[in-house]
């Protein structure tokens, strides 16, 4: 790890003055050195300082469990990191769009959310930008044709635009253009925390409410020297794994549906709801709304409730085992899953993929294991990986995780520590500080970085949803595939539009 950066643990606070301010050259060199040594970019973002923009980088070192933070001042432009470090590509596009700081030499500089820069005015100044209008990559030649899909899709799903460059059925290239879900979350968090902040977090990606609300709570706790009591931390772990169970089960069912394997599709459709209803048993909301709050958890699992949850979990798991066993035991399904949508381990590493998509390429990336916080410091959930990088691997990793999450919840429910579930409110946030909070959501790494100003208000709140890292993985998975396999590949990644667009 480079010597010049500040080292932090997940969920730790540092004073802003202790974050090294490097020259762009050092910043660049240190980052590359960290990445070469196995680190990866968890966050890279701009923050306005005076007339200029300060870049902050958070690198995650899975081997040591440390996060390193450094910064550098960029003017209106700076030399792009992307040519040397592909995983910076989407971050640099974001920085250019948000702050008008141009990464010189970036090979693919296009908008990612289609809004005007925040520096020097409001995003509305100069009128709206037409979403989705950009210069798409085009392949030309005999028999080449282009297929454009979206923003509005056939199913009940969120909007995004996809452009395929095809030769017959074969896809040469897929370009993904997002931004239709942009609601201005990061901008609205500045000046907070306010009454709306936690709700923006719970709806940043509504199927990931628990993970985002937990990351936010951790960040706020770090900044206010507050901690969740032990019982609250266990409840957070249970909530997080219930969220994973529901979504993974739903995705396995949908993967079945995409290859026309209807029994599992319909069984899992119901079972997903059963898991959501377990979350509702705990907190009244199927999506865990209101359960996670700074200081701990807002709803307890008293003994009878914990017992009911445990019993219903067992029943649901027995049915999930049956439904998934049928799916992954059917040769006709395997023929469609195997060797479809392959991403190599090398590409996954270069792009900085996270979560299920990374683990399905054999990468041992899991915040619960690498950067444990809360209950995951005490109890370890084994990391689930598979080597083949295809649709099958992404299904198989989900199935492994379902079993391990259920075992974890069952274990925790019978050993809930006594005591309060939430700590007393804190006076306010420490001024001029920075905190990083990472949570392994069901899609992968959720990373929040919070900066406070001299008055202890949020000066910048950077949210990185796992989808931010992974959309490019989907684009790569489609290379040389049949265009008809797009729905299957897409579902196997199951990425968030709103989590990306914020």
């Amino acid at each position: 790890m480079s010597r010049s950066s500040l080292r932090l643990q997940n969920g730790e606070r540092a004073e802003l003055k202790d974050v090294p301010l490097l020259s762009l050259r050092e910043f660049h060199g240190d980052l590359l050195c960290d990445i070469r040594q196995g680190g990866r970019l968890a966050s890279l973002f701009g923050h306005p300082v005076g007339d200029g923009v300060r870049l902050f980088a958070v690198t995650a070192h899975g081997d040591t469990g440390e996060l390193s933070v450094s910064s550098a001042d960029a003017g209106d432009s700076y030399p792009s990191l992307t040519p040397d470090c592909p995983q910076a590509h989407w971050f640099e596009r974001e920085i250019a769009e948000q702050w008008g700081a141009r990464p010189e030499g970036h090979p693919w500089l296009k908008p990612i959310r289609f809004h005007r820069p925040y520096r020097g005015g409001l995003p509305s100044d100069g009128g709206p930008l037409p979403a989705g209008v950009t210069d798409y990559f085009q392949v030309q030649g005999d028999g080449i044709h282009e297929v454009a899909v979206g923003p509005v899709h056939a199913g009940v799903i969120e909007p995004g635009h996809f452009r395929f460059q095809c030769h017959g059925e074969d896809v040469f290239h897929l370009e993904i253009s997002l931004g239709y879900q942009h609601r201005g979350i990061e901008r609205a968090l500045v000046g907070g925390p306010g009454p709306r902040s936690i709700h923006l977090m719970e709806t940043a990606a509504g199927d990931t409410s628990v993970a985002h609300a937990t990351a936010y709570s951790w960040a706020i706790e770090a900044l206010s020297n507050r901690r969740s009591p032990a019982r609250g931390s266990v409840l957070r772990g249970i909530a997080l794994e219930l969220e994973r169970l529901a979504n993974h089960t739903g995705d396995l069912g949908a993967l079945g549906g995409d290859v026309g394997f209807l029994p599992t599709a319909s069984f899992c459709g119901r079972l997903r709801g059963d898991f959501l209803n377990l979350t509702a048993l705990a907190c009244g909301s199927r999506f865990g709304r209101g359960w996670m709050r700074p200081g701990g958890a807002a709803f307890d699992l008293e003994a009878p409730r914990a017992a009911e949850l445990l019993e219903r979990l067992g029943q649901a798991m027995s049915d999930v085992g049956n439904a998934v066993g049928m799916l992954l035991g059917s040769p006709s399904v395997l023929a469609r899953f195997e060797e479809t949508g392959v991403v190599s381990k090398a590409s996954a590493e270069a792009l900085g993929l996270v979560g299920v998509a990374a683990r399905a390429c054999g990468l041992e990336r899991d915040v619960r294991f690498e950067f444990p916080a809360g209950i995951f410091r005490m109890t370890h959930i084994p990391v689930s990986t598979w080597e083949s990088g295809d649709v099958f691997a992404r299904a198989q990793v989900r199935w492994l995780e379902i079993q391990r999450s259920a075992a974890f919840i069952a274990e925790q429910l019978v050993a809930l520590p006594e005591g309060p579930i939430r700590s007393e409110p804190a006076a306010g946030l420490e001024p001029e500080s920075l905190a990083v909070a990472m949570v392994e959501g069901w899609r992968g790494e959720v990373c929040h970085v919070a900066l406070t100003d001299a008055a202890g208000r949020l000066a910048r709140y950077k949210v990185v949803d796992p989808s931010f890292h992974n959309w490019m993985g989907l684009a790569l998975a489609l290379r040389d595939q049949q265009i008809s396999d797009f729905p299957l590949c897409n579902k196997s990644f199951s990425l968030s539009y709103c989590g990306h667009d914020l």
Binding site: V156, Y180, T203, R270, G284, G290
Partner: protein, 249 residues
Amino acid sequence: MLRALAARLKQGQRTLSYPKGTPTLPDRFRGRPETDFSRCDAGCAARLKDCPTGAVVETDGHRRLDLGRCLFCADCAAACPHGAVRFTAEHKLAAWSREDLVLPGTEPKIRPDDPKFRKIARSLQIRVVSAGGCNACEADINVLSTIVFDLSRFGISVVASPRHADALIVAGPVPRNMRLALEKTYRALPAPRIVIAVGACAISGGPYAGHEEVCGGAAAVVPVDLYIPGCPPHPLTILDGLLKLTGRL
């Protein structure tokens, strides 16, 4: 084949008998709030500002709760020492006008007598557009098509093409970046068109109300016929709304 049959037996019959029998919702479920603002004292005004969406509004000295903005977080119920707001387990929340969502309100209204509602009594085809939805409203609309709710037994189905649709469901606060797509989808429906706003975001902008990145809900772009509040509304709340629309409830 035998395996599939055995699995089918194990998984059992799962479709709810709704609307004949209503399943019990969890005790912590937050449905329609009951309000009694006559209990408020002078100190209460200060607490109003803590509602994340400004759903508790005060006009001419009268306090009211706007279900169209409410996120059902129950922070107000927890903060109020006088019990002015209490959340009940009532899942039926759909309303025909924006005013009907403001509590304490008048008696629930019946469906307006518009010929366009008559043609969908036996068959309602819906196109859903997510416009800034966080995927929670979308998920709880999707779940209606599973075996648990089995939407198609009511003659209602979700269709892929707006050309095949009688009604449009909008979820989300409608980001400016989605405005054009929503307008175009709406115009692609054959007239007369029905629009349903599902969730706090689509009704009022929800937690995004006032953000300049969004239009602040469906009604800013298309005329809305039915409002289904919640964040997200429970699937039964949505189903109740759809059955009211077809005249079955």
